[in-house]
Symmetry: C2
């Protein structure tokens, strides 16, 4: 419990100590202003690109820390696809047995990569919450480590190293837009900014079709939802984790919900103006600006492009004029 | 003339000294293995991504050095589009007057960005060689600095910093595939590898439709060509520069020519397997593997994704199944 004015489970010293344990291939990602995108959005937009690594998402930052703490054991996680790829990559390089549990409705491109990376993949006939239950059951029955995204501090601390890099870039920004799923990225990056750049507004962005954690943040109590209706598979949860909500209440300045058509429009703008193929979750920040341009007008906005594991056929359909 | 066993105009000490003068936004670019791409190519493929910066190509590394040496003056260059953007960006931030001369047949997306970045753009009714002549005439009549790509050492030294990063990555590779246009990237990156990683094979790749420098390298004498027939606008020259050829004769282990259909197939593979939008020049390395898979089978291949300034309509047509 380090910082006296940002009381969460996270600690800046631990985050700084974690960074050297992460394979450099996940670190030092590009952060630069994208003028064409900014012109279209009416603000200055800095893009932090987390997709140019072997698993095409930021999740490797966290899984590197997880496997560092495991000595020759096995590990299981539930995943919408990105955490599973990252754990398969990190675990595979260290000879660990990795099991990933996913919904059979998960993005095929993600499932295919999890298998290709050598993990055991188990599919459940339900959504991500059922996959979480099944992963927990496997961990209990097999006596192996259960990795729980956003609950386990390694996942938050790994994501938090993005925050260190944003601050160290020297590129000034007024507000950061962070995709909100389980909450690891929002609490991790947010914690670092609150401590090292407290003037930066931390805004979480979640699809209106998967609003549980945002609603919980607004109501300051746990709210679960019954259904998920979003293409942003990477942030589609229904049951927030109490510990993560507690941290998010300390960290987030705001949490906004965006419509599906804004996510699609965000993907299209990132494609057309920045030449980037991104998965829907990575377009949430741009979607937030599109929905409330006055709020961001003329400001310096940083957004994290958190993943690019997307079905290309669907992407083509989404971005086509 | 530093290194006694790699006698060129380039010098490792100068390259190392140049690096801190370059805006960090162009440095430390991602380099990681892309397994899905490697599986399709039958070798291990490391991708060095030079597109996640404000000008979406590696050219900023060189233009930063150029403007560092200019004190409040003006500068003119000929450009197929990427050098012009980079010079406009670097010069614009320092309040320099930047003039870019380009062919009126240049990629519209590139010309548009040069204008948007505040440079004066002059179009000539001919190809890149005519633009070079016109830029030289402007420099002479206006008494301003003429930046000549690949001839001026800053452009080679800037590109050479890519080589430093490749070596420093600690990721081993056996061969590097470098797009060959004017020659700055090939001689710059190649020089660093020859000095610091002499076991790495340096292979230059040029379109068969714009073969002048490759033919010159093979014949060990200057060969000019009459016409250009390639979609790879970034490397489309007809008149090699004698000093650059002399360096390339020392540096390159091989120079290969690839067909247009291989360039397109390379763009498609980078799109489908790596999720990358690239311009044709950036696909030359992949094209070289596609044309001679036996040569690269099982080897560790590094390729530099040098730019992503591409017309999206054309890109869609090229990569569509």
């Amino acid at each position: 419990m380090g910082c006296p004015w940002v009381m969460t489970r996270l600690d800046l010293d631990r985050i700084c100590a974690a960074r050297p344990l992460i394979n450099p291939v996940f670190l030092g990602t590009p952060f630069s202003m994208c003028e064409p995108l900014g012109e279209r959005l009416g603000c200055e937009v800095g893009v932090k690109l987390e997709t140019a690594n072997p698993v095409r998402s930021f999740k490797g930052r966290g899984t590197e820390l997880v496997v560092e703490g495991l000595a020759g054991a096995s590990v299981v996680c539930a995943s919408a696809g990105n955490l599973g790829q990252a754990l398969a990559w990190s675990g595979g390089r260290r000879g660990l047995g990795v099991t990933v549990v996913a919904s059979r409705f998960a993005t095929p491109a993600k499932l295919e990569r999890i298998r290709a990376l050598g993990a055991r993949l188990e599919l459940v006939d339900g959504d991500h919450e059922l996959a979480r239950e099944r992963a927990a059951a496997i961990a209990a029955s097999d006596g192996i480590r259960l990795l729980e995204d956003s609950l386990d501090l390694e996942t938050c601390e790994g994501a938090a190293t993005i925050g260190l890099e944003l601050v160290e870039s020297g590129i000034p920004f007024d507000v950061v837009l962070i995709a909100l799923g389980g909450g690891a990225m929002a609490t991790g990056v947010g914690q670092v900014l609150k401590e090292l750049a407290p003037g930066v507004e931390v805004v979480c962005v979640q699809p209106a079709g998967a609003p549980a954690l945002t609603l919980s943040w607004r109501e300051r109590r746990l709210i679960t939802t019954e259904t998920i209706e979003t293409i942003a598979d990477g942030v589609a949860g229904r049951r927030p984790i109490p510990e993560v909500l507690a941290d998010l209440l300390v960290i987030a300045d705001d949490a906004v919900l965006v419509r599906e058509e804004s996510i699609v429009a965000g993907m299209r703008l990132l494609f057309e103006q920045a030449g980037l193929i991104v998965e829907p979750s990575a377009a949430l920040g741009v979607a937030a600006v599109l929905e409330d341009p006055d709020r961001f007008a003329g400001r310096r906005v940083a957004t994290i492009i958190c993943g690019s594991n997307v079905d290309l056929t669907a992407h083509r359909r989404w971005v086509s004029p």
